[in-house]
Symmetry: C2
């Protein structure tokens, strides 16, 4: 096991009816900016409950944060926050709203051009405190200190110990009304988060490995249930808690991590507008096929412990584990080939150029995944 530092101060309020506890979590007298996306925060009932809970506070609403939240939109929110002397932010939504709110939190007190936060990784020395009401389990942003922001054809990440949510409210009933596509995307996203922290090479980190397998197994069991019966509380609750645990830092402690699937996927979203989870479902099976030797030992462990593939030749177990992964995504309705989205081989050069432009040329757990490997992966994903 490698050395590590773990720190995660976000308070989680989990369960039915927890939005009612909101007022106690926000500093008394705070001026609150409520950020959200579109109509789903209204439709799922979260926003009305938030408005009710915020009665004792001065609050302003900022709707319209996009999927893959856009820099310019967030800058507008930051201006409003400054002008209105906002001192607390409340994100109501999924990963995009939360990520966007993290950026607003950092941008409001930032001296200088806030673009530097993304492009130059400028150090964040202060941020507005903020809370979250989660309505879409997927990204884990509700319990971590990272965010991904889009501007034109770039998706750029930033992080800081100052942008952990102060609290996050996770009420599984608020996910009942999710469209099947978003439920499925969330399951795929959480699944691939775990894979990127697990499917590398073994370092005798037994707890982390088993925790990762716990999350994968739970998604495999509960994902289909939530799609079949959207109001199955336990399925919704298990998916919600799994997605949070999948990217709150815990399973990455002391182990190598990969993230090449994400980086290649980001470029597909940036150039072709696919959902984040769709890009992961496309890239991952191809990535595992291309890198099967590098990941051999963990692929065998994955085959055994997650898919129960214990018999037969090792290479066959690996083949079947990759196949099971693809079939799982497809069974949720998330297509796993570029061609399923009308993207052909002619798109590959531009995707590779984007990776080079963003200096994504030494990816993976060994820092050895370069543009040629990305080409092979994208070709396998056609």
């Amino acid at each position: 096991m490698k050395n590590f530092t773990f720190y995660n101060p976000t308070r989680i309020l989990f369960g039915k009816g927890r939005i009612a506890d909101l007022a106690r979590e926000i500093p008394a007298g705070a001026r609150v900016l409520v950020t959200y996306g579109g109509g789903s925060a209204l439709a799922n009932g979260a926003l009305p409950e938030v408005r009710e809970a915020l009665r004792g506070f001065v609050s302003i609403e900022f709707p319209g944060i996009e999927p893959n939240p856009v820099y310019e939109t967030l800058q507008r929110a930051a201006e409003i926050a400054r002008r209105e002397k906002i001192d607390f932010l409340l994100a109501v939504g999924g990963g995009s709203v939360i990520d966007g709110t993290k950026f607003i939190a950092a941008a409001v007190p930032f001296a200088g051009d806030a673009w530097d936060i993304l492009e130059k990784h400028a150090k964040i020395t202060a941020a507005l405190p903020f809370g979250v009401v989660l309505t879409l389990p997927a990204t884990g942003s509700e319990m971590n200190n990272g965010a991904v922001i889009s501007r034109a054809t770039s998706k750029l990440a930033f992080g800081s110990p100052r942008i952990y949510p102060l609290f996050s409210i996770l009420d599984p009933t608020k996910t009942y009304s999710l469209p099947p596509k978003q439920t499925a995307n969330g399951v795929v996203d959480a699944f691939v988060h775990v894979i990127e922290q697990y499917l590398t090479f073994p370092v005798q980190a037994k707890v982390q490995d088993r925790f990762s397998e716990s999350l994968l197994l739970t998604l495999i069991e509960e994902g289909p249930k939530a799609l079949k019966d959207p109001q199955n509380y336990d399925a919704r609750a298990n998916i919600m808690w799994t997605a949070t645990m999948a990217l709150n830092g815990l399973v990455a402690m002391g182990v190598p991590t990969d993230w090449a699937t994400h980086m290649v996927g980001h470029e597909i979203t940036a150039l072709h507008g696919l959902d984040h989870a769709q890009t992961l479902a496309i890239v991952l099976p191809a990535m595992l096929t291309v890198r099967r030797e590098e990941k051999r030992e963990k692929l065998l462990q994955y085959a055994d412990r997650v898919w129960g593939l214990r018999d037969g030749a090792p290479d066959e177990a690996i083949d079947r584990a990759i196949e099971c992964t693809r079939d799982f995504f497809e069974s949720l309705g998330v297509k796993t080939r570029l061609s399923d989205y009308g993207i052909g081989s002619e798109a590959i050069p531009a995707l590779l150029s984007q990776l080079e432009r963003h200096k994504m040329t030494a990816l993976g757990e060994h820092g050895a995944f370069g543009v040629e490997d990305a080409r092979k992966t994208l070709e396998k994903a056609l």
Copy 2:
């Protein structure tokens, strides 16, 4: 899954050589009281490294915190802390030193009689900040907000959101010199912590269940390795991280918990001076036998997932799972019968009186474990 609130702000610094990072974690200019037990903190090398790391600070040492830390000793430390204007505590040791330090942290600023913290559960409105250098993985106290303190024949627990360690340093190499008995006790302690949060009744909390099973499986694999080869880094590291995760709140989220084994065990320690883990190893197998119907469904899950007992009749699987549990403790050298420690049936009435005196008469996940059940359990444990 039940509703829950999760919050754990302790920063973990895990790995070889992390004591060197100590100075950065303590507020600049702090006056530090270093608390420890006996000579083991010197022998394992932790204390010399701590002294080296604390060179830039005013620091005083307070040795002599006992196993099952004693109220009067801790009050003496609190007096010294007040007199010397200490504003940071650093516990170097295992659960007893950490628990004791938590009490000192709460007692120093406490207005009134500090005994009220334990006896009357007086609210703690302030506490000195403190850090931990862990040298004995077992109790999980390094990443939680609870403590157990002894006075005469009472072992009393207290807890507060204000007594989370600010940080805990976990260097597995500092456990190389542990006597086999302490290594084994630590594994048993962590194992039973998980069991108390897992082996109750099912509530469809799939992540928590699998995380618990992850911890149990890791202890079963790694415990014997650490005893056989005390300098096996990975075994020591896995045990250390498992023991921390076993009682940092995570696996208890949203599930019923038991703790009857602990409460009965506490009385055996108080009256007969057995190690905490010895009492758990005695009580647990007997407890599971007595309560096998109440715990039936989870016992079957435990038999299957932890001990691989999938075939045969359910009752047989339960019998064998309980037997495997006992055999595991015995294989570590921790005896599992009262008679192994020279305690006979004549000791039972006094133990039951103690439980009544401490109002421990409605224990367990259903609050239904009373004095008669404790009698049956102790009789089974003879």
